[in-house]
């Protein structure tokens, strides 16, 4: 194993431009939050029917990707694959950055963001949401500790392994909790399912790694550092397997739901309906987010180029976005079935499929969260010795058949 | 240069001392009913603690016969504005605002609670002869609990 040298990234003009662009997006999000808080949520597209909207899609996406981005480091520390070791510091930093971005969007969309301190000190422990708040805060602490023990001198490898394992277990609990936010809602046919927790876990593997590859694949050329083609191929192959796994869990979820007559109407709405959720599912989630990238990454996996892996990562991220939009918004668009034997109408949108058009403020808030994550990751690699000077293939044992 | 700074400081000091002839302190409007037996100093320090305790008594335990309910505070401390109607916290001269603005402590209550008393109390205040302290106390104890 060749010795890895970690060095801070020199802030070139290109990096300053990116920082300025991210700053602009963050400022736009900040202004949106002030506007929404002053006028009330009436200025957004969210209402009493679509209660959680685009900001929540962005937030959950970033949170799920955050826990998945830690995977690369976990594979090194917990599962002993030392060729991942040089990327472990960046993996930890990126997971912290993504979680910060996601949480930023989530708490700024609250009806009372000024009461955040209430949320962080008053807990109702029957609420999985309350547990999630504890898990999110603890994630910062555990992964922060993990990053510290990786970077500090004189720390024994067993300690790094122990902290890495703690971080791995914590992130599994966190993602299970995030999936359970939806899976434990008995009220709606689109949510009430035990498979939501493992589905979110496998989504985190897929989106997190896609994000990691994308950010790595753009940061390294930007900073003039070399990344070896075999390493990219291996990461790409792993990503392909995760994409197929997401398709599998999606298939199980929808097939099981469809089989039950009580949930059949909801499944028909998603799979064969005439709203935007049907093409969003088949084309956005399944085709763009699953089948095409899996084909790119797994067919002739020994010959995939860096460009192809990056392109597949982008597709998986877009498809993942469509997936979460379908889960979060689709689950609310379908009306509650309070009187299953009756057709219902009322002044409160009972019995009708609810529509949702996000406003510019919600887009600004969501994109600001992504920008915040990129900004934090960027600041981290410029200020600290996170990024290795080279990720050549020298560390990969050519006789080792596993990734 | 030093003389310029010194003369500027003297001018500032004179301005402050000139203005501090009582006018820096807020003008707190008088209440409609009798004074609190605990005294103003006690109420200034403890009013939030009392309000919060009685809030929980009412909201969680359903006890509406409390001594420090926000409804009664708002009623007794109503300030009449133009057209002889009570003014809300958004306008200058509201009882809570006059002190809270001075102390720069943001009031969270009136996003949800009405800062003006209810119509019955307003009608009482708008009678041709202003109500006596005991009439106010009776209304607060019996009607507004």
């Amino acid at each position: 194993m060749e010795r890895t040298v970690y060095r801070e990234v020199k802030p070139t003009p290109a990096i300053w431009m990116i920082a300025a662009l991210m700053g602009a997006f963050i400022a736009a999000a900040g202004l949106s939050v002030l506007y929404i808080e002053h006028h009330g949520h009436i200025v957004t597209g969210m209402n009493n029917q679509i209660v959680w909207g685009l900001p929540h899609v962005f937030a959950i996406f970033l949170i799920v990707a955050a826990s998945g981005a830690l995977n690369v480091a976990s594979i090194a520390s917990v599962f002993g694959k030392i060729e991942n070791k040089p990327m472990a510091r960046y993996s930890a930093l990126l997971s912290i950055a993504l979680l910060a971005g996601g949480l930023g969007v989530l708490v700024l969309d609250l009806g009372h963001p000024d009461r955040l301190i209430v949320a962080m000190t008053t807990y109702n422990f029957t609420s999985i949401f309350a547990w999630n708040i504890i898990l999110y805060n603890g994630f910062f602490a555990v992964v922060g500790a993990y990053l510290f023990v990786q970077m500090a001198r004189g720390i024994a490898p067993e300690v790094v392994r122990a902290v890495g394992t703690a971080a791995f277990v914590w992130r599994l609990a966190l993602t299970t909790g995030t999936g359970s936010i939806f899976g434990w809602l008995v009220a709606r046919p689109g949510y009430d399912a035990a498979i939501m927790a493992p589905l979110f876990i496998i989504m985190s593997f897929s989106f997190g790694l896609a994000f990691f590859i994308l950010v790595l694949g753009t940061t390294f050329p930007l900073t003039g550092r070399y990344i070896g083609p075999n390493l990219v191929k291996r990461l790409g192959r792993l990503l392909g397997v995760f994409a197929v796994a997401v398709l599998y869990f999606t298939a199980v979820r929808h097939l099981s739901n469809f089989y039950a007559a009580e949930h059949g109407d909801f499944e028909r709405f998603i799979l064969f309906g005439d709203t935007m959720f049907t093409p969003l599912f088949w084309i956005g989630q399944v085709l763009i987010g699953g089948i095409i990238p899996a084909a790119i990454l797994l067919r002739h996996a020994e010959k995939t180029s860096k460009g192809q892996v990056l392109f597949a990562s982008v597709l998986i991220i877009l498809g993942g976005f469509a997936h979460l939009y379908g889960i979060i918004i689709g689950g609310q668009a379908f009306p509650l079935e309070i009187f299953p034997a009756y057709d219902v109408t009322s002044t409160f949108s009972d019995g009708v499929i609810n529509s949702y058009t996000p406003s510019i403020y919600e887009w600004a808030l969501g994109l600001g969260g992504v920008a915040l994550a990129v900004m934090i990751a960027g600041m981290g690699v410029v200020a600290l010795r996170i990024l290795p000077m080279t990720l050549s293939d020298a560390n990969i044992d050519p006789t080792d058949p596993d990734f | 240069m030093k003389r310029l700074i010194a003369s500027l400081l003297i001018i500032c000091g004179l301005a402050v001392s000139g203005a501090s002839a009582g006018s820096l302190y807020p003008e707190i409007p008088k209440a409609v009913g009798a004074a609190h037996p605990e005294g103003n100093a006690f109420m200034r320090i403890n009013h939030m603690r009392l309000l919060r305790h009685d809030r929980d008594e009412t909201m969680r335990l359903g006890n509406r016969d409390t001594q420090y309910s926000l409804k009664e505070c708002v009623a007794c401390h109503a300030v009449m504005g133009p057209e002889a109607l009570p003014i809300s916290v958004k306008e200058d001269g509201h009882f809570c605002k006059s002190c809270h603005e001075y102390a720069a402590v943001k009031i969270d209550c009136f996003q949800c609670h009405n800062s003006k008393p209810d119509e019955g109390f307003t009608a009482l205040l708008m009678q041709s002869t202003p109500p006596s302290e005991s009439e106010v106390a009776t209304y607060l104890d019996e009607v507004l609990q």
């Binding site: 009330g40 949520h41 009493n48 209660v51 009806g111 807990y123 109702n124 609420s127 034997a341 | 949800c112």
Partner: protein
């Protein structure tokens, strides 16, 4: 010299200490509000407050509810200060009329829907700060001081009973505070019930002559509502969820 007995009971025999009180069984029928303060759980008293011996509920007779009558909705909005401002998607609606047509038989019916005040409320389970809570007498409320406006309770409610306040509110009723950024729902007119009254919707329904709504103490076997529930068939909505709602519907 004989030393005086250390046993205090000889000096103050009339005072029961707490252990003797509980052993005597008097504690069985009483509710402790605070250390040393107890409330006997009788029924039907004004100022009974949030008594754990009671469970407030409603019975709605769907056959008596007229399709073109909106009295309950109007009464609730007048009583509690919420309005339909012309934006039905964002306007708060604590109670609404639901018009039903049976898919197979074509039977038409109408009924009012509001917070069902469940015994196992999903909204109370999921609230991260505990702002959504159930009182000892079964009324489910939102503590708007602690509500952070996350709207998770709105996702969890199977009856879509909760509304989010999307804009600034002015001129609130003194007994029904409500404000932007918090979640609200039917309070079962708790401000009236605490003083021995009945909810505004029930009162207005009686006033129209339809008499479709009845209110009372489900735990009191002698109350009108308990007798009606015992003698006539009724259901709770989404009974399959086992929430045991306090609002029941008959002839549905």
């Amino acid at each position: 010299m004989k030393l005086p007995a250390l046993n205090n009971e000889a000096v103050r025999p009339a005072e029961l200490n707490r252990r003797d009180f509980f052993k005597s069984g008097a504690a069985v029928a009483s509710v402790t509000l605070a250390p040393g303060v107890t409330l006997m759980a009788f029924g039907g008293e004004a100022n009974a407050n949030a008594d754990a011996g009671k469970r407030w509920g409603m019975l709605i007779d769907v056959n008596k509810c007229a399709t073109d009558c909106n009295a309950c909705v109007k009464a609730c909005s007048d009583e509690n200060g919420w309005k339909m401002d012309g934006n039905p998607e964002t306007d708060a609606q604590w109670i609404r009329k639901v018009d039903l047509t049976h898919k197979q038989t074509g039977r038409e019916a109408s009924l009012p829907m509001m917070c069902q005040h469940c015994e196992e409320p999903p909204c109370v389970d999921v609230c991260p700060t505990g702002a959504s809570f159930k009182r000892a007498d079964g009324i489910v409320l939102v503590d708007k001081h602690t509500c952070i406006g996350c709207r998770y309770c709105m996702m969890a409610c199977p009856f879509k009973a909760r509304s989010f306040v999307h804009e600034d509110v002015e001129d609130q009723k003194a007994h029904a505070p409500r404000g932007k950024g918090t979640v609200e729902s039917c309070t079962l007119c708790v401000h009236r019930v605490d003083k021995g009254g009945i909810p505004a919707c029930v009162e207005s329904c009686s006033a129209t002559g339809h008499g479709a709504m009845m209110f009372g103490d489900l735990n009191d076997p002698a109350s009108d509502i308990s007798i009606a529930l015992k003698n006539y068939n009724s259901i709770g909505l989404r009974d399959d969820l086992r929430l045991n709602p306090g609002v029941r519907y008959s002839n549905l």
